[in-house]
């Protein structure tokens, strides 16, 4: 695996340098009216990080995100295992989950807001509904495609359903479940930020939207940059772990 990972690393570096070059070029073409250069953005982000307000917003976003992710993973695993163990329910529900996955969930946000009120609980609920479905779908498929010999062994040993899940199905499904959590992680983050952009009084998404009305391009670019770097770097890390799990 070593040479392949080195190649991936090299490509990633080339890609990042390339993206910065494209950004700088775009800045040179468009100019100060609507863009900032990479260097200006990073510098402003540094200044932003010295303000207390920024950390308040960041902490609020991270808190909402963490709780949402926990809910998405727990509920997703429960739904995935329940549907995976019961064949008919699994076959009936899978296409419906896929259909739910493809709808613009943002349309449901007003309903969530009416139910929870503007605040952290609405953000959490909205983040969680983005993450639950991928975790559930990956778990469902992992449980369904567990090698039959493992399940038969469990039956022969007369394991109870709880022990069966703990000792056989879960360990066998770990790589797939991890993939589900990786996708769920990204979608929960997107959901949380999206929720903040539509209606919130705190958080990074709110910061972005308030920057539009102030026409504060520095703020818009540095928060967008921060979000992209956060999402991309965490996802890359999870992807590396994911690939190792699948190659075991």
């Amino acid at each position: 695996m070593q040479p392949l990972e080195n190649a991936t690393f090299r490509n990633t570096v080339i890609l990042i340098v390339g993206l910065f070059l494209v950004w700088e070029l775009a800045y040179l073409v468009v100019g100060d009216v609507a863009l900032r250069s990479p260097w200006q953005t990073v510098k402003f982000l540094g200044e932003l990080m010295r303000t207390d307000l920024f950390w308040l917003h960041l902490a609020d976003s991270l808190k909402a995100f963490a709780v949402a992710l926990a809910i998405a993973v727990v509920l997703g695993l429960l739904i995935g295992f329940a549907l995976g163990l019961h064949r008919l329910s699994g076959e009936a529900m899978e296409p419906m989950l896929v259909a739910l996955y493809s709808i613009p969930k943002i349309t449901l946000y007003p309903i969530i807001l009416l139910a929870f009120g503007i605040g952290i609980s609405a953000k959490i609920a909205f983040g969680a509904i983005h993450g639950i479905i991928p975790v559930a779908l990956f778990t469902l498929n992992a449980v369904r495609t567990t090698r039959p010999i493992l399940i038969k062994t469990g039956r022969v040993l007369k394991l109870s359903p709880a022990v069966m899940v703990r000792e056989i199905l879960f360990p066998a499904a770990v790589p797939e479940i991890f993939t589900g959590i990786r996708v769920g992680f990204s979608l929960t983050l997107i959901g949380t930020v999206l929720g903040e952009m539509f209606a919130a009084q705190r958080g990074l998404g709110y910061m972005l939207m308030s920057a539009i009305s102030l026409y504060n391009i520095d703020l818009i670019m540095s928060v967008t940059f921060l979000l992209v770097v956060l999402a991309a770097s965490v996802n890359m890390t999870l992807l590396v772990i994911d690939r190792r799990l699948h190659h075991r």
Binding site: A92, I103, F198, L227
Partner: protein, 250 residues
């Protein structure tokens, strides 16, 4: 198969009945959500008066523009990348992590750059959709069996003929999958952007109704969006399954 259908219908019907019961029992209060039968009645009224047809039409046109441009550009880029191994390897990490990035975060920037109009919304829809098309196109081209390529070479087909008689027919299911994904993403992108900030469109009308506590408009419009996206998705999925079944892969 019919037993499966029945249980699916039962789940949906059960869910709606549950909502109805909860609303009528007052567990869900009227300000949060009207009972489903009222939503349905409001929807029919809305469709009869044709009040939001303009907004619905506008959103659909923007979705289609985003979809068509993303599809065209995606297939072309995918085809070109297939022939450039190094470029593709360099872009691979981008494709792998692209859908983890909150593309909507770019929306404020686009508003500042292009003004608050259809442009930024279509651009967000395009950005969400185009990478899915590129990835699926590459995936399809990767799977063209070498024996087919050899047959083309033996018969002396030129590039255009190979594309028409070999690659294109083989890749049809992938192109359809790409279309399905692109449509879903374009829809999410456009409606989502309208929601966050816009001057017209279905998403805008919903957020406007939300701020005015106008549930009689909000819920029917949400229903329209959900039904549109589910209908488009299931139509394309069915078509996809038919194609795959014909190849014996279904």
């Amino acid at each position: 198969m019919s037993r499966l259908r029945l249980s699916q219908i039962a789940v949906v019907a059960g869910f709606i009945l549950l909502l109805e019961a909860l609303c009528l029992a007052g567990v869900i209060d009227k300000i949060t959500m009207p009972p489903p039968h009222i939503i349905l009645r409001d929807l029919f009224r809305m469709l009869l008066t044709g009040r939001y047809f303009g907004e619905i039409g506008k959103s659909i046109v923007n979705v289609l523009v985003a979809f068509a441009s993303a599809y065209l550009v995606g297939v072309i880029i995918g085809t070109i990348l297939h022939g450039h191994k190094t470029t593709r390897e360099i872009l691979d990490p981008l494709f792998a992590t692209y859908y983890a990035i909150p593309v909507f975060a770019f929306y404020p920037l686009f508003i500042v750059m292009f003004g608050l109009g259809d442009g930024p919304q279509i651009l967000i829809g395009f950005m969400l959709a185009v990478v899915a098309v590129i990835i699926t196109t590459l995936n399809g081209l990767d799977r063209v069996p070498p024996v087919l390529k050899k047959t083309a070479r033996v018969n002396g087909l030129n590039a255009l003929q190979t594309a028409r008689h070999i690659t294109l027919p083989f890749c049809t299911p992938y192109l359809l999958t790409a279309a399905k994904l692109a449509l879903a993403y374009a829809f999410i992108g456009v409606i989502g952007s309208e929601f966050i900030m816009a001057r017209s469109g279905m998403g805008y009308e919903i957020s406007y109704a939300y701020t005015n506590f106008d549930n009689a408009t909000m819920y029917p419009l949400i229903l329209v969006i959900l039904l549109l996206s589910i209908a488009a998705n299931s139509l394309l999925s069915r078509w996809e399954r038919m194609l795959l079944a014909r190849r014996g892969q279904g």
